[in-house]
């Protein structure tokens, strides 16, 4: 703090008055806490935070929670106790209990919970319409699967697969969108979902994916965090298809990844910090990041795109428009 003040005095003396005016405002401080910054969605969030740091010169602190539930509450208390941070971003459903306690203990601290909406009205929620992106993923997978052996690497199983991490609401929401999309675009295709029960076990992800391929599902949608690395590997090993999630995963198994359902955590955190820096204080409530605002989207891999039939592409565009203008309603999972 002292440093900033002395810098400002110096700047004020040396430069024009407007600079010292800018300095008089407190620099925005942001912290982010999660156990999953090194993976998929977490990487996307860290990218957004770093971009905000470069663009706006905010103070940024990343805190890794590790995986011991015993530690969470103290970590929240350590972050919130001085009121040093304007916003604290929180990612991960395992932190919800500790987050709610911290929010009650430090009512003036603004917490941003990424990836869902909780009961409390004291927090800011960055909510993603993952069901919309998954709808398109389901539509794509369904239409490709229904081509049967006319499409490279597809069999006659008439099924598509889904590997979820844990059975929690947000993952159910992915599954719900995927099922609705598949049903909408290819009604004769069945969806076979499995849950790994963990986000941290690539070997299990690989096993489950192999089992789905054996059951005739030729395309498997990975919604399983690090467990999902196994899904991508299995698609390469079995020479079938996978669909990535959160970030662009096309390079994990080139030729075997149809596309990735991008969940733009970076856009969400960046836009929230931008508002804060520009003086629009972020207040408790829900911000939804959906297909229309670019918060979610399906990116078809560049090496696959030329193989996809024109009528499928046209249908996907039509669905995209339908979701954005509201003529196609995608239900959230309850």
């Amino acid at each position: 703090m002292k440093k900033i003040i002395s810098k400002c005095i110096f700047a004020g003396a040396a430069l024009v008055a407007s600079v010292s005016l800018a300095c008089a405002q407190d620099k925005v401080s942001v912290a982010a806490i999660s156990g999953y910054f090194a993976q998929g969605f977490g990487v996307s969030i860290v990218n957004g935070l770093n971009k905000a740091k470069t663009d706006f010169g905010i103070d940024l602190k990343l805190v890794d929670t590790g995986n011991r539930a015993l530690d969470y509450e103290e970590q929240f208390a350590n972050l919130a106790k001085d009121g040093k941070y304007d916003l604290i971003f929180v990612m991960g459903w395992e932190l919800v209990d500790a987050l709610q306690k911290a929010s009650a203990a430090y009512p003036n601290q603004r917490f941003v919970f990424i990836d869902g909406v909780l009961d409390s009205d004291k927090m800011i929620y960055a909510n993603f319409a993952e069901e919309q992106g998954s709808f398109i993923a389901g539509a794509l997978a369904g239409m490709i699967e229904s081509k049967g052996s006319a499409f490279d690497k597809i069999g006659d199983g008439k099924a598509i697969g889904f590997v979820g991490g844990r059975d929690i609401p947000v993952i159910r929401n992915f599954l719900g969108g995927y099922e609705q999309g598949s049903k909408y675009a290819a009604p004769d295709i069945t969806v076979k979902p499995v849950f790994a029960g963990t986000f941290d076990d690539p070997a299990k992800g690989s096993e489950l994916t192999q089992a789905l391929y054996n059951e005739g599902a030729d395309i498997v949608y990975n919604v399983a965090g690090p467990t999902g690395e196994g899904v991508m590997q299995a698609s390469a090993a079995a020479d079938k298809y996978s669909i990535g999630v959160d970030i662009d995963m096309c390079s994990t198994a080139p030729g075997n990844v149809l596309g990735s359902m991008l969940k733009r955590g970076d856009i969400a955190v960046y836009s929230l910090i931008k508002d804060e820096v520009e003086g629009h204080k972020v207040m408790p409530g829900t911000r939804t990041f959906d297909l229309a605002s670019g918060g979610v989207e399906l990116k078809v891999c560049d090496d696959i795109a030329p193989k996809i039939p024109e009528e499928v592409k046209a249908k996907l565009d039509e669905i995209r428009k339908g979701i954005v203008d509201g003529s196609i309603k995608v239900a959230k999972a309850k």
Binding site: D64, D71, Q75, N78, V96, R166, T198
Partner: protein, 346 residues
Amino acid sequence: MSDRLRAVYGQLLAVLFALAIGAIIILMVDESPVKVFMTLLRGAFGDQAKIAGTLLQTTPILICGVAACIGLRGGMFNVGIEGQLFLGGFAAAWVGFALPLPAGVHMLVGLAVATLAGAAWVAIPAFFRARYNTNEVVSTILSNYVAVLLTSYFTIFLFKRPGGWSETPPILPTAYLPELFSFSRLNWGLVIGLVLALSVAWFFRYTSKGYSISMVGSAPKFAEYGGVNVKRQGFLVLLVSGAVGGLAGGVETLGVHHRFMEGFAPGFGFDGLIAALLANGSPIGTIVTALFFGALRSGSLLLEVETTASREIITVIQALIILSVSAQVLMKRRGDSTAGERRWKF
């Protein structure tokens, strides 16, 4: 110098060595070791809430440490405390949410069932050890994986609270292990741990049964010659060690979390084992070493927030301590093989 003094001196040296290497690593990530160690201290003992936080972290390490001590003294290397803790934790939580009982009784029944679950879980490796002389190190390590995944299965597929994280429904307040202070989650589990450590120390020092167990641990052939049923005693030692491991899990669910979450307390079983080894199998010594590890862990939580060094630095320090303690044992074993044998029967 007496043997005991020399052992303490050796362990202190190991800790100092680990801290010194840790300091070098901190320098390598461009942070000041002085700042890091001061933050660790402040995070562990800075104010009353921090001290309570340290004791909260100490509790499971201490109880798991006592479980390990019982095994080590009886010549049994129970590496399955982690799994016993998970099963004990789940069992206690199950009693807590599924079995309504009057206040007080409910909590005691929860702890008792946790203890039984821990003992039952180690009974399988213990049986094979006693009957077929299977190496209990291997079988108890393997049983950890089964235990963690089994409790995951229970939590996700059989008893999951609808919505939210993979966890059981909350336990009824009648089963809560009461908290000691209003400002912390620190609870009677710490007292249970301390009483347990003291009574186990007393048992080994002043009872003939304790003596006979120590004898089996240090010189099994001699004990057998003296008329001790070594196999039966080894079985019982593992059973009691596992029971205490289960109790550690029960204390965590009834005292802190008030429900069972999948993967709720990874690593405490191993932390306890390390604390016991560093204390050379002494329950009183384990109180000190568990407090040391608890303080490291608790301090690291502030470290992560206030410095640029990672919380994981304490994992590195812990690993260095293990390395230097094992190195000592190996060096000692060269000079005096029986002393080495007595400490760890690898």
